[in-house]
């Protein structure tokens, strides 16, 4: 029996725990770390069960190559040669940008760095992206424009210090449970004020001082109206606005068009609720905004994010403990995957690919000429390009777009059109059904590396057991691909060596090394070896100098209910499952808790349609129809349906719309028009 300290592979909270390994090398449990700054000896249900899927017999254990329509087991040498050969031929025929690389927020920083290095230095394309596109790409864009840094401004410990917390579009206790618990503790013990602005009556709403339920997709109108009230009642922080921000006059002008009576009409809530929220938020000494995908996953996701930033600046709630704009990052390492430049427009540390100086620096460091200059495809535009025949091959590491991307029929048609697909993963998925080559990867418990949590904390994961079967760590596979493609500068003795290279080329990670994060992770920016890390961003000044008010006008969602499809369908996750259920579906208790796809419907709507709790129903949109079990609950607002996207058997993403934010290219998962009927 041994115990190995590592970081949870589920959400971005970044709890550390010990994996318990028995004498056979099987994971048989976890023990929370009592010393970890976030976990504090605690875990959520998924954390307690995070060991369970690792030794599952479904694990991919051998490389496979498709021949004559069927997958055959092959040697690593044959599989890797095949990958390099096919990608090379396709690029020779169709150009470098005919190939795209999907990196993974479930893998380590080191692996994301290598994936983007492989794409850029070896295959000479900026077509590299990952699932942050689907969750927080609007945050990265929106907060970079307003503050100069697209990350959570504060630390998780700040949740315990805020006097007022506005939670909007985040079901915090289910999706970031230990962060949600800090909010509950603050509300119960310190009597902090809690405002929940969410269509669903989530758990936090039960404890809230005010719960407002605006119509889905009306966030800009709602937030503008709050600012309208604050300005018209003189509640803004004048000193902060004058000394720390710019473009205030434009904000004032735009929000003047959203008096409560006007916004209330758009949002479907009483005007007084907007006034109450504005007064409560503005009155707090330390007020904090916490948001997640209810804000980001819209065709106006960037506008939503900017509006949150505007509200925080207007009330002087940036740069101090207990305040800030706090987007909660979903995946264990989605922050890190962005930091590492697994994005089509930036290298690691958000250094732009369009900047000649930056390109020159990476050319020198990586020993290559002519790095690509054009911004590449995003995950979402790559799928569109594949459907249109402009993209010919895709190398997918640890992602499952068939289940996670919007409009499944569109995704399937796109994958069908591709000439070559590599899937590198730990389990078969509906996406690997399309693979020409499958490369078996090691799980988080079988390799060393780092994850960066939502509070920008770079933390260790550690190898607790040997990779199962012939599986290999993703970073070792990527290095092998690079070597076979003729590139010599992707050869490392350990994951620590990769981090040393990351630190050398990435200013915000400049002071990070394994010896410094052996027990406690560091929060970036950490530019030098003696820098203690940065718990709160934008203290003295914003990353961009002055904070930029970036007001937006309300734009309706792309597809609104009508006579034919009278409901709004919103999608998300439940507490027990993780994303496409590849891991939680193989964890005994988690799978038992939620075995079927379900749809939340309000008691009023259910009564009208004669739908009873646990009835099987059909939910349809213009894209398709799926079955789901009805969950009649007051969590759902009248006129709104909510489904989770976890279930491949009844995929909610068959229903969602492939409509994207024009800048961030994030899909509008939170609003489309639907209808529901009994089976």
């Amino acid at each position: 029996m041994k115990r190995v300290l590592t970081t949870c592979p589920y959400c971005g909270t970044g709890c550390m725990f010990y994996l318990v390994v028995d004498d056979d090398g099987t994971l048989v449990g976890v023990e929370p770390s009592t010393e970890h700054v976030v976990a504090k000896g605690q875990l959520c249900l998924k954390g307690w069960n995070a060991y369970h899927f690792v030794n599952h017999p479904d694990r991919l254990m051998e490389p496979m190559v498709r021949k004559n329509g069927r997958l055959h087991t092959v040697s690593w040498e044959d599989a890797l040669d095949h990958v390099v050969d096919r990608l090379g031929r396709i690029q020779a025929e169709h150009g470098n940008d005919s190939v795209a690389f999907f990196s993974s927020a479930k893998t380590t920083n080191e692996e994301n760095y290598l994936m983007m290095k492989l794409a850029r230095a070896v295959f000479k394309t900026n077509n590299v992206d990952h699932c942050a596109r689907l969750c927080h790409s609007s945050t990265v864009v929106g907060l970079a424009a307003t503050f100069g840094s697209g990350a959570m401004t504060n630390s998780i410990s700040c949740m315990e210090q805020a006097d007022c917390i506005l939670v909007t579009g985040s079901n915090t206790t289910e999706q970031h449970p230990l962060i949600g618990s800090r909010i509950i503790e603050n509300v119960v013990k310190r009597k902090a004020r809690l405002i929940v602005a969410d269509n669903r009556k989530i758990r936090l709403a039960r404890l809230a001082d005010i719960h407002v339920r605006p119509n889905n997709g009306t966030d800009v109108a709602f937030l503008n109206s709050i600012m309208n009230v604050i300005i018209s009642e003189g509640l803004q922080d004048r000193r902060f606005v004058e000394s720390r921000t710019e473009n205030y006059e434009q904000l004032k002008r735009v929000v003047s068009g959203y008096p409560p009576a006007v916004a209330a009409d758009i949002c479907g809530i009483p005007p007084q609720e907007i006034i109450d929220v504005a007064r409560m938020f503005a009155a707090a000494e330390k007020a904090m905004i916490v948001y997640s995908m209810g804000i980001t996953q819209h065709t106006h996701g960037v506008d939503n994010v900017k509006s949150c930033a505007n509200l925080a600046m207007l009330t002087g709630n940036v740069g101090r403990p207990g305040t800030g704009v706090n987007p909660l990052r979903g995946q264990n390492n989605v922050q890190g995957a962005c930091d590492m430049g697994a994005l089509p427009n930036v290298y690691s540390g958000y250094q732009k690919v369009t900047d000649p100086g930056v390109r020159k620096k990476f050319e020198k460091e990586w020993g290559v000429d002519s790095l690509p200059r054009q911004v590449g495809y995003t995950v979402t535009t790559a799928v569109n390009a594949a459907a249109e025949g402009r993209l010919k091959a895709v190398y997918i590491m640890g992602e499952n777009p068939v289940i996670s991307d919007p409009d499944q029929n569109h995704v399937r048609a796109a994958l069908d059109k591709l000439d070559f697909i590599v899937v590198q993963d730990i389990f078969h998925t509906p996406t690997s059904d399309y693979a020409d080559v499958i490369l078996p990867a090691a799980s988080y418990a079988e390799k060393d590396g780092t994850f960066t949590s939502t509070e920008r904390r770079v933390q260790r994961i550690r190898k607790a057991i040997k990779p199962l079967g012939l599986a290999r760590a993703d970073w070792r596979i990527l290095c092998e691909v690079a070597r076979r493609a003729g590139y010599r500068k992707m050869d490392y003795g350990s994951a620590s060596d990769i981090m040393d290279e990351i630190a050398a080329v990435t200013p915000i990670y400049g002071g990070v090394s394994y010896d410094r994060i052996d027990q406690v992770g560091l929060q970036w920016p950490c530019p030098q070896k003696d820098h203690p890390g940065t718990p709160v961003l934008h203290g003295g000044s914003f990353s961009r100098g002055l904070g930029m008010f970036s007001p937006a006008e309300y734009r309706p969602s792309m597809e609104l209910p009508d006579e034919e499809y009278p409901f709004v369908l919103s999608t998300g996750r439940c507490y027990f499952h993780w994303h496409t259920r590849t891991m939680t579906g193989r964890s005994q208790l988690l799978e038992r808790e939620e075995r079927f796809s379900y749809v939340e419907i309000s008691p009023e709507d259910a009564a009208q349609l004669r739908i009873k709790d646990r009835d099987w129903v059909h939910v349809a949109t213009r894209r398709g129809e799926v079955r789901a079990m009805a969950r009649v609950t007051d969590v759902a607002k009248k006129g709104v349906l909510f489904m989770t996207f976890h279930f491949e058997e009844e995929p909610a993403n068959l229903l969602t719309i492939n409509a994207l934010d024009p800048v961030a290219k994030i899909p509008e998962y939170k609003v489309c028009a639907a209808r529901i009927r009994c089976c």
Partner: protein
């Protein structure tokens, strides 16, 4: 007859190492980042002081996940007892009381073989005295264990209570403490506050007399995030789920800790769930230990180890809930 010796930490370490040929020795150790756990002597430095270890100590006999049998073709191989019997140090007095209860639970009506495979012949060592967290005095157990290491602030007094314990104690170095347990230590232990015991006894009475309304449980369950930690760290929680998993050509049947705080725990095949609301489940957790078990087993089965209060992220461990309950309803007549 009570055998008592006075030992330094070094002598305790030597004693523990001398047991290793015969026993699988598990003791409180400090892991990589300072977290205390029950582990082998080579897994980390000995950390006797510091009070209860954070995880349920009874996990040594009832681990989070274990194979209970293996099926290969027509052959079924049941779990076997370990090659070496266990020597487990680190029980607090409350932990030892918990162990006494689950020995009853797993032994009286049905006999849980996987539990007793490990429990049978195991040597139990309590740790007490002036070695709690922040200088806190840990209650002297005096029972429900084979030996006890009682810290007097400098050294540990080793008290052996059973024949097995005396046999092991005789192997220990150190010097005999002929005067037995100093009265001062026993008095300090006897004078420890019994407020918590009074608290849960009062709470138990309120529950048995049905003086706690449903609204109370709703307010508590509103704060529960269903992390299940309260169950998973509780030394008297004994529930598990069973599942089968292929392993090469064989199939292994495992059991894994389960939690009454989960909806699926009680859901019937029909879909009906007699514990289908959060407030019912929250009530059950506490009602079970303070009321149902009093009727069923004749005792409270929260023995005040304190782990659920420590681990609950939202402050609704059993003592915290009892405090709220008693404050609200104890004077209601």
């Amino acid at each position: 007859m009570l055998l008592m010796k006075s030992l330094t930490l070094g002598e305790i370490d030597s004693l523990l190492r001398s047991l290793e040929p015969d026993y699988d020795v598990r003791v409180p150790i400090r892991l990589h980042d300072g977290t205390r756990a029950l582990g082998g002597l080579d897994e980390g430095p000995l950390a006797l002081a510091g009070g209860r270890i954070p995880q349920k100590i009874t996990s040594v006999f009832f681990p989070q996940m274990e194979t209970v049998l293996t099926m290969s073709g027509a052959a079924v191989e049941m779990q076997r007892p370990p090659a070496r019997q266990l020597f487990v140090a680190g029980f607090t007095a409350q932990d030892a009381d918990c162990l006494e209860f689950i020995d009853r639970f797993y032994g009286e009506n049905f006999r849980d073989d996987p539990y007793f495979n490990k429990r049978r012949g195991a040597v139990i060592a309590c740790v007490s005295g002036r070695c709690g967290p922040d200088g806190e005095f840990l209650k002297i157990a005096g029972k429900n264990c084979d030996i006890e290491l009682i810290c007097d602030g400098e050294k540990y007094l080793l008290a052996a209570y059973t024949a097995n314990g005396r046999r092991l104690a005789q192997k220990a170095g150190g010097r005999e403490a002929p005067g037995g347990l100093p009265a001062k230590l026993q008095t300090e232990s006897d004078n420890l506050s019994t407020d918590d015991l009074e608290l849960i006894r009062t709470a138990s009475r309120l529950l048995l007399e049905q003086k706690v309304p449903d609204e109370f449980w709703q307010t508590i369950s509103d704060r529960c995030i269903a992390c299940t930690s309260c169950n998973l760290v509780c030394p008297t929680c004994t529930c598990f789920d069973v599942f089968d998993r292929k392993c090469g050509d064989a199939v292994r049947r495992w059991r894994v800790w389960d939690s009454c705080q989960l909806d699926g725990f009680m859901r019937e095949a029909s879909g009906h769930n007699p514990m289908g609301t959060e407030s019912l489940r929250t009530r059950r957790r506490i009602h079970h230990k303070l009321a149902a078990d009093v009727v069923r087993w004749g005792q409270l089965t929260c023995l005040l180890c304190g782990r659920c209060d420590e681990v609950c992220p939202t402050g609704i461990g059993i003592k915290a809930v009892c405090r709220e309950m008693v404050a609200k309803y104890a004077d209601a007549g």
